[in-house]
């Protein structure tokens, strides 16, 4: 399967990983400037935490994207979990920091968090089912 077919097959997965790479990269490079919500809610340590968050988010996005296109689940799943953490962290801090002004960003990132968790759980569930079948057959 070429990359076009994979993109057609995983439009949302690709875009979520792409957004994680861009947002994480910005966080990694410019720190707390990337989100007012984070600056407000993490008063004091915002800059360090924003850099760490950016690193985690970028690594997750890159792993997920590579795993998705190289068809390597062992790389895709950890990337998916790291993206989940990144979106969850952003969702909670932006709503805490900006209150109602953070609701739009918080809702979107919260939905993406749930989506990533569901996808990771689905893959892990299938892997467990396959290993159970394989174990019985052996």
């Amino acid at each position: 399967m070429g990359w076009r077919a994979l993109l057609a097959w995983n439009p949302f997965g690709t875009m979520i990983a792409g957004a994680a790479i861009i947002l994480g990269g910005l966080g990694l490079v410019i720190g707390e400037e990337v989100s007012q919500g984070m600056t407000n809610s993490l008063a004091g340590h915002a800059n360090v935490i924003a850099h760490l968050w950016g690193a985690m988010f970028t690594i997750g996005g890159l792993l997920n994207l590579y795993g998705l296109y190289a068809r390597r689940l062992l790389i895709e799943v950890p990337g998916l979990y790291l993206i989940t953490g990144g979106y969850a962290f952003y969702c909670l801090t932006v709503i805490t920091g900006l209150k109602t002004h953070g609701l739009a960003a918080g809702t979107i990132s919260g939905a993406l968090t749930i989506g990533c968790v569901l996808k990771a759980q689905a893959i892990m569930g299938r892997a467990r089912a396959v290993s159970r079948e394989g174990g019985e057959a052996a």
Partner: protein, 109 residues
């Protein structure tokens, strides 16, 4: 400790938890994920094999059809040849018969 602190610590725990989950996936579920990867690959290979087999069958069938059509055309050409031979023979007979008729008329008159 106010609500903000609590939510921020929840966020940190969530982020940390997913890092742990990622490590669990890599270190403890490695075998299962590998197996699923292999199965996905074998499914893809099976599908490709089936597709190739189907195309090959179609190719063989259409070659057979082509051969049949060629055979039919040859038969028809042969028929056309024999029919035109027949027509020329008949028209030669006709000319002979006409000549005979005109000769008979001449002798009668």
């Amino acid at each position: 400790m106010n609500t903000t602190d609590i939510i921020v610590s929840i966020a940190q725990v969530a982020a940390g938890g997913t890092i742990v989950q990622a490590m669990v996936a890599v270190f403890r579920r490695r075998g299962e994920l590998r197996q699923l990867e292999r199965q996905n690959e074998s499914v893809a290979v099976d599908t490709a094999d089936q597709l190739v087999g189907m195309l090959r069958r179609e190719l063989v069938e259409s070659k057979q059809e082509l051969a049949d059509v060629k055979q039919d055309r040859e038969n028809l050409q042969r028929q056309v040849g024999s029919l035109s031979e027949h027509v020329s023979k008949v028209s030669a007979d006709l000319a002979v018969a006409r000549a005979d008729i005109s000769r008979m008329r001449d002798t009668a008159s």
